[in-house]
Amino acid sequence: MSTHKITTQKVNFKVFRFNADVDYLPYYEDYTMEVTSEEVVLDILNRIKWDLDGSFSYRRSCRHGICGACAIMLNGRATLACKESMNDMIELFGNDITLEPLSKKRAVKDMIIDKADFWQKHDAVSPYLISDIDEYPEQEHLVSPKQAEELDDADLCIQCGACHYACPVVEINDEFFGPAAFAKAYRFEADVRDEAGTDRLIEMHKEAQGVWDCVKCFECAEACPKDINPIGKITKLHLMLFREGVATSTVASRHAVGFKNSIAKHGVLDEGTLVLYSEGPAIVKHIPVALQMFRKGKIVLPWNMPKSDNLDEIQKLVKSSSTAKF
């Protein structure tokens, strides 16, 4: 018999309420409950609906962390309700817990949001295997374990949207594909059976929509309940863009390449030259800020540019270890 003891503690819940059909503005309802150490967040949502207010709405389906329906925000942290233990959340945040939908501006009813933008972006990256397969193949297309490892768990995505709505760029740029779509694009780009070639990658390189607009905040990595690490996949897509020769000469791609050039020359970064290399003639737009910085002693002139000691070592390593071309 298990010796595990069930404990309870009092938790104050502040719950986002909104019904787009009747409410002009959302409001918050307070509920105080005794929460047992066995419960997950979904149990609380159920109890609110079943015991306290039948009109309360949320999505759930599998209760096994695989359908992705139940993702909500708990104290600003994207949370898969059926997977997350209340005890862990109390340990992380204490006894005052706020429950909100993944995206407040997309709320339809309480925890339920309109995920149309998520699915549209998902669709936009050709989220399927593109392969010209013989209708009656003589043998299976074998994938070795090593080749399967290349997917780096990207195939485990349950499309819950946690990363997407945690992403600050999704919030302010309607065109940005967002982390889940990138993870999906990577999932097929890394699949040896896929024959889309560079078509999908070309989408990834597009200004405003593609990987170059990611601010590298790691919110998506933190949010993902499946540990898929979308920003890790975004980095891999960047590398693929260069490797497959898809990366054209843009501000963003030159910015990445400029780091290598600068390190090869000085060891450290030459900040001024990097901006010049990245922007080209458009550098003039930075002049007002640059002048202000210059006045405050924040710009190093070329003849004072610092260099790393033992620069010859760095140069030797840049030469012998470089794998990328632009």
Partner: protein, 293 residues
């Protein structure tokens, strides 16, 4: 107090566009009886951009930097969140992948170096909290910052990915509710401002390719601090500092509201509280004027 000794990885910014970051680091170290051995051989960490172009080269270069700290037998301290991330991420990958480590070491052998994995890599903020302790800091404060509301701005790469960051230090941080900088503000006698953007992104890394995105993010951050009644903001990251301090015109335009606050480096705040002479803290190097002293 026992003398602490670290290998200092300055990163590039402290040697160029944020000289005040370098000055205040040295001033604070002196006050706290910390000896810093500067890794003058170190190269740029790649700042996440080299990593997008040439992953292997970035591993080799970062491993080389750590190898120099190992040669001194010291923990490496960083003073930039992005340097911390890229260096710690290299360490994590090499320490957990013998094959990759061997490949990197094959390259380092060409210049007579070896990455062993013996030196820890930790941001100065956490080194201070772990190794000196907030109580000790509190005791050492000579000029409490009691008349100031100070808005902490954490910066992404010190708090996310949390698994990686929490590997380097004992003072565990919750990325959704970080406390280290708040605790330091309180230890310095100041009052902390709680605002939604304190653990959000400043947008620095897309400043060139997606300036509007960058400007909205930094504008929102300063606006959040202003709405919280902040007298100034403080950050442990020189890149966040640059974005918030030098780009206020663009930030204001992007969010349709005038935003501007003095933005101090974590070291400058600590230096003020510990009584470092203000000329050693480089406060005159700010674009958004530090007008309260």
């Amino acid at each position: 107090m026992k003398k602490l000794k670290y290998a200092l990885f300055t990163g590039c910014t402290a040697k160029q566009s944020t000289p005040e970051q370098m000055m205040s680091t040295l001033a604070v170290a002196k006050k706290l009886n910390i000896e810093l051995i500067e890794l003058t051989e170190a190269s740029c960490c790649g700042a996440s951009h080299l990593q997008d172009y040439d992953d292997f080269l970035s591993l080799v270069l970062n491993a080389r930097n750590i190898a120099y700290a190992e040669k001194h037998g010291l923990t490496m301290v960083t003073i930039c969140n992005t340097c911390q991330l890229n260096t710690a991420m290299t360490k994590h990958r090499l320490d957990n992948n013998a094959e990759l480590k061997a490949k990197v070491n094959e390259k380092l052998a060409e210049v007579g170096l070896e990455y062993k994995g013996t030196s820890n890599v930790i941001h100065f903020l956490y080194a201070i909290i772990d190794d000196i302790g907030l109580d000790k800091i509190k005791e050492m404060v000579v000029t409490p910052l009691s008349q100031f509301n100070i808005a902490p701005f954490y910066g992404c790469h010190n708090i996310r990915p949390s698994e990686l960051q929490n590997e380097s230090h004992n003072s565990k941080e919750n990325p959704y509710n970080p406390t280290s900088l708040d605790d330091l503000i309180i230890a310095c006698g100041g009052m902390t401002v709680d605002y939604n953007e304190k653990n959000k992104c400043c947008g620095f890394h897309v400043e060139l390719q997606a300036p509007k995105t960058g400007a909205i993010l930094s504008g929102n951050a300063i606006a959040g601090a202003m709405d919280g009644n902040a007298d100034w903001m403080v950050t442990p990251c020189p890149l966040c500092h640059l974005k918030l301090d030098t780009q206020t015109k663009h930030s204001s335009e992007a969010i349709g509201r005038e935003v501007k606050l003095p933005i101090l480096h974590m070291q400058q705040m600590l230096g003020l509280a510990l009584g470092c002479p203000s000329d050693e803290l480089g406060l005159k190097h700010h674009v958004s004027k530090v007008n309260f002293i």
